[in-house]
Subunit: 347 residues, 4 copies
């Protein structure tokens, strides 16, 4: 950590900060420059120390040197994590393809969708039973009945089920039916939920909040890893910017950036990331080209009749075409969209 | 709601959308322009209908006409809501002044701060017992012990206590000790928590999420109002933008904007909104000039030793000066920073 | 255009606005809804009318229906524009690959780079002779001498030269030496420069400003098209958002979005768009997967010694690998990175 | 400047960077931490050096310690600059009040506005003769005729004239008629224009670009200061964020922030900053409370008939009320909205 003193900082202020650094158990290393003095603090333990130095008299700023996350860091575990659960594998050579409707609406809708996406090559099924909705007047999901339907669709197709959990008190229920617990973007910093979900041992799909930095996303993952659950997939689904022609701005450079910093697999959601059906396929391809370990995409038998997110859902035919293109892209990148071999070998 | 068809939309597509509008129970009113056709849909019931029209073939976009919130709307209740609880009054003529440390650290710290801010003119006390922290390795608050200390500080000074609640399962506990439940920015769209907090009947201070639009903030308030709790204070605490010289960007135009749209009082938090001690006082003054109904500000006996947010906390002397300036500003605006008269008359 | 009246608008205010619409030569079509009245204004001539209606008493908002650009619109010219100049072709089947250093530093640097990128498969050469620099104390480019060097590199390799022009008064000089005039992101709304550059008849590479919307970008292109120059390439090079792990945020969904709205080719600059060497190649691949008609990338013989932007430049070896990957991607998409056949046939 | 090496940097890489630092004429000061090595580089000359170190092998990042601007810095000139020209004074005790229409439309409009704003207490007159417009199809201003009208309004009222200059080639013409040259937000980084305008010796009002950081704004000012013109007023007029309920987001914390960093006066434009008439006055008051040295506000005899920006213009009555409030605010802050005493004493 580097404590940068103000230009006019007095010798007393500098002395004071050196003592403060030492009180924190760090080694202080002052450097007297031509215009300013900086104090390097060696042995920092991330974050905590920084805050307590920042308000010292004469301090201009404190510059952290270490990344604030630990277990998520690639420096700690250089080899990529592969998350495997049922039919789904994501990470390293494997690209997971998670498809399905925004909301579970009925058994018929869900089974027909599961069959269609499986046929086209999806490796997992998505569907919302508990729906976080911006308005209290919107459809809030079928809840437990939705979970039951998802499990029926898994029985029918063998596809692993990914579904969102909204609150710590629902975690046990959702974990009973689902293969992967999804933490939605609105809940990325709902730390109680992160810990409760992590403790189930189920793999977690953690969506980036629309205003979250990379450090904040990785620290949210750290909450899960920290309770002993190593199976975290990060999901880029777009950020809030001034752009209005897309629902969110989908910044794919996060994929190679995260691959440098963390061993965790990175999934991209081009449906929420763009909010328009006709932008979903190009951005799914682009995500694979950028190195994504998974794609999460909304598919509905009849998007015009969907109870939510119809404007960004593919129909079966569009999903079939998307899969064909994505497979070509994956080939190009030396990767595979395929069902988890462990799952198939168990059969 | 206005359904805008694409330039090349066929007569069949237009006919189809007219039928879709009518199927939704709305009256369709097509207008054939020189370049495009638009269909006005009369009788809309907000949000739901829009989504189901947006994915129709030939549709370019759907433009909503009604605001999506109802109970929060000033169109429904033109007179401003005044939230009163213990010593705090916010709304209309009353500006609430909520001051105290980021975290409750000890009984001594809390009592001395409560006494100091009361002396300077604060009308309520803030302090965090449950702390949402970006890193799992940071101090997470004293929890129940912190709540007990806050109540002791209230007993000592008569100041109403504002404190954050992080999860639905803690709501009952926090409501037992606190006067106002604060929903933090990270939890603005934690709908389960909004409803649980609302159901206690305690006034709620709802902080704007750093990427939330005005409609999203007002719809989050609507979740609370919708369970029958009318006492919601909205709190602007800054948004995420490209600016890095402040911790967040504090957009004060939200104050007069919200006053047009809603009857709910609007509080401003210049401590989180700027993240730098020396910007807090100018922005507190500016917030009052913009019409704020309350100011929430971090005060600590010794910011350099604070366990969190020291870099944005005022010390007692700085807070005294801030209060003097804020009072002049309030006078100028024909408003008052004063203890809730109902509370004092009850004594 | 749809004029939305406020909920409480009086009959007089509504009448007044109907008259105002008619005074503007438009046909007014009022629709009396259950909660509000809206007035459809038919025959709008874009932009101008909107502004003069927005300040009417009782008006809540004015919603434009037509896109504000005309000549750039795909509705006007459905087939894609292919820009061809010397060795460069961009648009439809052709992907242009524009490579070279940020700044022209010396003849040796430029010639060696031109030879290296040509060998690797680039179809045009970039290099800055006039450099817009954030600080007045930074290197501002070799100016006319730089242009001369660029032309020498073209003579040596046959690669078309793309270089930035900073001011209307330099347009003639730059157009004398260069094949394509680049308008930088800072100058996207320097309308005098757009017109002057357009009038030379040289193809223009127009970079998106970091805070520009799609409409603003297309209207900037419209300034060039409007002086009779049809050869405009749009260039996405990243926007300013809250993200700090990349220099800008590169939103590739603009590529398929622009392809829907305009016939103009869309180039992507992953060097400025990410600001880090190791993110450039994945994002170049992703851009091609998203449908980009060209890639513009910084290449330097020795990035560590570059006078500007070394941290985002590829060296020759890295560029060779990038080209190999990009070619595979282009194949996958049914497109080609190849020298403009017209140019080669002329030889 | 602090060069932070990667965790795994080899001794050779560290040695190499130490040599690189020394080659740049700086003193290298390596610090071997528990997890990483950092090299402090003493004697830096801003910006240039940083870039050439950032691409070194094994380097994680380079952290600058010095602000990149020099002449604009408060460290160099601690006392505030007061810009005085004709009736206008801005800085230190003086708040300038610059009012007038967006566009000069006619002599009658301009003279009547000048008289009305003078009566209400404005200390300078604004009005656009050269208009930068997003669309080529919008009204582009009366140009030279507009300048003549502005001068006539000055003759009539004694108010100093502030007007925008769009291009280096117009600078001489505009400087002949105007008292203050305004550089618009779109041109903040049009460096050629900055230098040309600076060289006239006229005071400059420099508007912040909607995506510009504080350093970029101050470096743009530095271009003007650097040609020997000390009279620069910075103008905050809002930034581009995800907010859509206002035209831009107006971040008033820039006012006290800039006052810490620079001696230059800071003007706020609440008309462009909000884009809605009814938000202009609260934000003008808030700007003064935040410490602004000037307010720039759009006033039009009949906003509904304005040729541009009517939706954000005050009429004469509204401006009168605004002035009354602003004066009270200025009093409160111990400041004055008054005509430049030097100008009046010269009469």
């Amino acid at each position: 950590m580097i404590v940068v003193m103000k230009r006019g900082a007095t010798p007393e202020e500098i002395e004071h900060m050196i003592r403060r650094v030492e009180e924190l158990g760090l080694k202080a290393h002052p450097i007297y420059g031509t215009e300013r003095t900086v104090i390097a603090a060696i042995g920092e333990k991330r974050d905590e120390h920084r805050q307590s130095l920042e308000s010292g008299a004469g301090v201009a700023e404190v510059v952290p040197i270490l990344a604030p996350y630990k277990v998520a860091s690639r420096e700690v575990k250089p080899e990529p994590t592969v998350v495997r659960v049922g039919s789904l594998a994501a990470g390293n050579k494997h690209i997971g393809m998670i498809a399905g409707p925004c909301s579970v609406e009925s058994e018929e809708q869900m089974i027909s969708t599961a069959q269609a996406v499986k046929r086209a090559g999806a490796t997992a099924l998505r569907g919302g039973a508990f729906k976080p909705r911006t308005s209290p007047y919107s459809f809030q999901g079928l809840k437990e009945e939705g979970l039951r339907i998802l499990a029926a669709a898994r029985d029918e197709t063998g596809l692993a089920v990914v579904t969102e959990v909204l609150a710590a008190e629902d975690v046990e229920l959702v974990a009973r039916w689902a293969d992967v617990l999804q933490i939605g973007a609105r809940n990325m910093q709902n730390y109680r939920l992160l810990e409760a979900a992590g403790e189930t041992g189920r793999p977690i799909l953690l969506k980036r909040g629309p205003a979250a930095t990379m450090d904040e996303l990785l620290l949210a993952a750290e909450y899960i890893l920290n309770v002993g659950n190593p199976n975290v997939m990060l999901c880029e689904r777009g950020i809030r910017t001034f752009e209005t022609h897309t629902r969110f701005t989908l910044p794919l450079a996060t994929v190679p950036y995260l691959h440098e910093r963390t061993h965790l697999p990175v999934v991209v959601d081009p449906s929420h990331g763009t909010g328009h059906t006709n932008l979903v396929v190009p951005m799914a391809c682009a995500a694979i080209a950028a190195g994504a370990d998974g794609i999460m995409v909304e598919v509905h038998p009849d998007p015009e009749m969907a109870m939510s997110d119809g404007y960004q859902s593919l129909n079966f035919e569009q999903f079939g075409e998307a899969m064909a293109l994505c497979r070509k892209m994956a080939d190009c990148m030396g990767r595979q969209i395929m069902v988890n071999e462990e799952a198939s070998s168990q059969k």
